[in-house]
């Protein structure tokens, strides 16, 4: 452990600032360390042999992601800390550093005492293997921020990112953290410091895998936090601050104030129990297994040439997915996925292609969320397994059925019990697979008879198939009861052998065979000696039938839950991509709603604040729906996000999307209709490019809605040069109304007119009400909505 090496250790300091180099050297020498100083992260591997305990990197060097990667590779056993000057450093740089492999951030001034404490603090939590050590270290964050509401989002990202990296904070905890931080910070800024930018908000956070503790203090006079009325009652509802505190107390595990009331400490616990951390709770190998599976599925679904490497303790990379391909060290840029024990590198090939980069990034985030979901799934599986035990108890024929978890285990257990109960020497259980019309060997106990593990139900020579077909017990020593083929085969050498159909009786009363139980070689005489024995066998078979069927049902339920869960996850992820319209409240009256036909869809909208007070609005509809469409949608959103602010021309923006997506669109035979318009309030114009989008309208005064007709065929069909633009006059209270064909199915004339009529009737209402009315009108028209439905309404000002 680092702390135990305090004397005689060494530190590598990376900075170009002499004053910082001096200060840090003094601090590390105070610990008895030797210090060496380098000026940049180039060729850092040349210092790998030095094996420093500490690597302190000046954040103002703004190391790139590759910089952090090379540090982590050169010094796999070292603590990699960034050093930030609170007066000059950008919180975004710190976030970036922590995200890309930096373990911790120190703020100036740095003292020996502080360093020593921090090093001591890196104790290894129970159950954690060496090498996992540095990833379990706590993050200490110490920031001084201006009283500006815009910092809130950055702080949330920074702390949320830290917590997320530990993987021990579930989605609910992360949401709680987000809201709690936002409440506490806005209280400090708005009420504590009264929005005075010269006053500071101080944030001290300490995050580890188990708790996230954040202290936020302001320069205000404080307040009496003991004496707050119930915020849900009467006047308190409108009182500022009160409600935020109420929320805080609901969301955080602990909320504490200082004496004066100008500093609040919020504590959130992770989902991990403090006592049982380590392999048993979160085995690294199951992460890898899950990731390999997920990568295979993403590859299959998207057609992207996606690769995954696991980083081993010495920093080398092992290619783990796709499993059937061998690939040595990756070239080009990697996207890192952090889990507690290990880092994974993700790359989409061809490397160094802009589109690949974005796919890789998107996939990384998807895998990150999916992994969290896998964890939840494992939990629910455990729950179900517990319920399984109850079901088993009800149906069990022997005690041995107690702890089964899967069909295979269960059948083996059942057969062992059967052998014991009947005294047979060998037993095998065959389960019917309807899709292949076969009996498949599920388990066998005792000396094996034949190396066969599947039999067609129609087989004329198989005794098992006969028992199954005719749903009756078949004995080999009763030649008369056999089919002629079977009799010819077994008749001259009768064996003590019996095949019993295994039946399942549903709660409704119907009974059907689900398999066959074979028993043979009874030690004491004939197997089925009398009526009593026959009845026992039938009862056994029925019980086995119930057990097998229940297990199968449970496996089916688990599989279904998994699919539903994955879809929910994808849905949430997609909805998160859409812009938060609240940030446009001050400049426009805007509302939108997007209802995918399936969990995920291909509809999207975007809104941009552009230079010179202009506003860009986009609505797109990728043909088809589901996963393929949603990936195209995500790519389009990211492309427009990048280019919208760079070009004033809507046609150019469509060309940028065209350039980025045309190959994907052509290879998947998808296309998309896109409307993109830029409103210029100064010139009172709307300039737009419309690639085949049918439903784009301007509503001006009392006039009927005016269609903003397509200027080119849809994207994916139109030629690169073909994206024309059009320009129309635009008054501040004109409505821009965009919707997708999910709202006009099944008839463009009748359904669209109904939706337009609702729009025109509601033209003076607020944007949210207009959207509401449009969806209602669509619903009244009846008919299924097999496609994604999206509506988007915007105007600069409400009419007076």
């Amino acid at each position: 452990m680092h702390g135990r090496q305090a004397a005689g250790g060494s530190a590598l300091i990376v900075t170009q600032r002499p004053d910082l180099a001096t200060a840090l050297t003094e601090a590390v020498e105070g610990l008895g360390f030797t210090a060496s100083i380098i000026a940049s992260l180039d060729h850092v591997e040349a210092h790998a042999d030095a094996r420093p305990t500490l690597v302190l990197t000046d954040i103002s060097l703004r190391p790139s992601a590759e910089g952090w990667t090379s540090l982590a590779q050169a010094f796999p056993r070292s603590a990699l800390w960034a050093v930030a000057d609170p007066d000059e450093s950008n919180i975004r740089d710190v976030t970036f550093a922590l995200k890309h492999g930096c373990h911790d951030c120190l703020t100036l001034p740095v003292t020996s005492e502080q360093l020593g404490k921090k090093l001591e603090g890196i104790g290894r939590p129970p159950g954690v293997k060496p090498g996992e050590l540095d990833r379990f270290m706590s993050n200490e964050i110490n920031l001084e921020l201006p009283s500006d509401l815009s910092i809130i989002e950055h702080v949330i990202r920074l702390l949320g990112g830290c917590c997320r990296d530990y993987r021990s904070y579930g989605p609910r905890k992360l949401v709680n953290l987000r809201i709690a931080l936002s409440e506490a910070l806005s209280n400090a800024i708005q009420y504590g410091n009264e929005g005075d930018r010269s006053k500071k908000v101080r944030l001290r956070a300490s995050v580890n895998a188990w708790t996230c503790r954040v202290q936020i203090s302001d320069e205000g006079p404080g307040f009496d936090h003991q004496d707050l009325p119930d915020p849900t009652s009467g006047t308190a509802l409108e009182a500022p601050g009160g409600r935020g505190l109420f929320l805080l107390r609901q969301l955080a595990d602990d909320v504490a104030f200082n004496e004066t009331g100008n500093a609040v400490t919020i504590t959130l616990k992770s989902d991990w129990e403090p006592a049982v951390v380590g392999e048993s709770i979160h085995p690294v190998s199951s992460d890898a297994e899950a990731l390999v599976g997920l990568v295979e599925r993403v590859r299959l679904g998207s057609g992207a040439d996606l690769h995954l490497w696991a980083e081993s303790l010495d920093g080398s990379l092992e290619h783990i997915a796709p499993e059937d391909e061998e690939l040595a060290e990756p070239d080009g840029r990697l996207h890192w996925l952090h889990t507690p024990g290990i880092r994974y590198a993700i790359q989409v090939r061809p490397a160094d292609d802009e589109c690949s980069e974005r796919w890789a990034e998107f996939t990384r985030d998807l895998l990150d969320e999916a992994l969290a979901y896998e964890k939840r799934l494992a939990e629910s599986r455990r729950d179900l397994a517990e319920r399984q035990e109850e079901i088993e108890l009800l149906h069990s024929i022997t005690d041995t059925l107690g702890a089964v978890t899967g069909l295979e285990d269960a059948t083996t257990q059942i057969l062992k019990g059967v052998l014991r109960v009947t005294g047979a020497e060998q037993a095998s259980l065959w389960i019917y697979r309807p899709d292949a019309e076969e009996l498949v060997l599920a388990a066998s106990e005792g000396p094996s008879r034949r190396p066969v593990n599947r039999v067609p139900v129609s087989s004329p020579v198989s005794v098992s198939a006969l028992a199954f077909r005719e749903n009756r017990t078949v004995r080999l020593d009763e030649v008369d009861s056999l089919s002629s083929e079977a009799a010819a085969r077994f008749g001259d050498r009768p064996e003590p052998w019996v095949a019993v159909p295994v039946t399942y009786t549903s709660p409704e009363g119907g009974s059907r065979p689900v398999g066959v139980l074979n028993l043979g070689g009874r030690r004491s005489g004939a197997l089925v000696s009398g009526i009593g024995e026959a009845r026992l066998l039938m009862t056994l078979a029925r019980q086995i039938g119930s057990a097998v069927e229940n297990l199968r049902l449970i496996e089916e339920i688990l599989a279904r839950e998994r699919v539903i869960g994955e879809l929910e996850l994808a849905h949430d992820l997609q909805m998160k991509l859409l812009p938060d319209l609240r940030q446009f409240e001050e400049i426009a009256d805007v509302a939108a709603r997007c209802v995918p036909a399936r969990a995920v869809g291909g509809d999207f909208y975007q809104l941009f604040k552009l230079p010179d007070g202009k506003i860009g609005a986009m609505l797109g509809d990728v043909t088809s729906h589901g996963f393929g469409a949603s990936l195209i949608m995500a790519l389009s959103m990211s492309v427009t996000g990048i280019y919208a602010r760079e070009t004033a021309s809507p046609g150019d923006l469509l060309r940028a999307i065209h350039r980025a997506l045309i190959q994907k669109l052509e290879s998947t035979e998808m296309f998309m209709t896109v409307f993109y318009g830029v409103i210029d309030p100064a010139q009172r114009t709307l300039t737009y490019a419309n690639a085949g989008h049918a439903h784009a309208f301007r509503v001006h005064g009392d006039e009927p809605a005016q269609r903003l007709t397509a200027t080119s065929p849809p994207l994916g069909i139109a030629e690169y040069e073909g994206y024309d633009e059009a320009i129309v006059a635009w008054e501040p209270d004109d409505l821009l109304c965009l919707f997708t064909d999910g709202l006009t199915n099944p008839s463009i004339r009748t359904t669209e007119s109904a939706v337009l009529e609702a729009l025109e009737v509601q033209r003076n209402s607020a944007a949210t009400e207009i959207v509401e009315a449009m969806f209602e009108a669509r619903e009244e028209q009846g008919g299924e909505a097999p496609d994604d439905q999206t509506a988007f309404v915007l105007r600069l000002e409400r009419p007076r």
């Binding site: 043909t623 296309f671 080119s712 065929p713 139109a718 199915n745």
Partner: protein, 110 residues
């Protein structure tokens, strides 16, 4: 959706009945690609009994027409109802297809 295939001289006529939507578009695509493989080069897709085509249905028409063109053939559409006609016009897809009001008009000079 069903479709019936007949021929008129060297033109293969595919008559689509019902909706052409995401759930069934593949059938149409497979059939036309099979015919294309078999050497037919001129296609007329007739929609007199089609009420509705969704965006993925349009996608299939576009990709088929492209494939037929690549093989030196041509694909025409006929008998689109008013709704569908509007759909093609609004999405500017009418600039990419030869669309005729009736089967006879489509077969002229084909």
């Amino acid at each position: 959706m069903n479709f019936e295939i007949s021929s008129h001289d060297d033109v293969t006529i595919v008559e689509v009945t019902g909706q052409l939507i995401v759930g069934n578009r593949q059938e149409l695509k497979d059939e036309v690609l099979r015919l294309l493989e078999g050497g037919s080069r001129k296609y007329l897709i007739d929609f007199s009994d089609t009420a509705y085509i969704d965006s993925s249905g349009l996608g299939v028409l576009v990709s088929l027409s492209k494939k037929v063109r690549e093989k030196g053939g041509e694909m025409r559409l006929s008998n689109l109802n008013e709704d569908l006609r509007t759909l093609f016009e609004l999405t500017k897809l009418d600039t990419l297809f030869f669309i005729a009001d009736s089967r006879d008009l489509a077969l002229e000079n084909f």
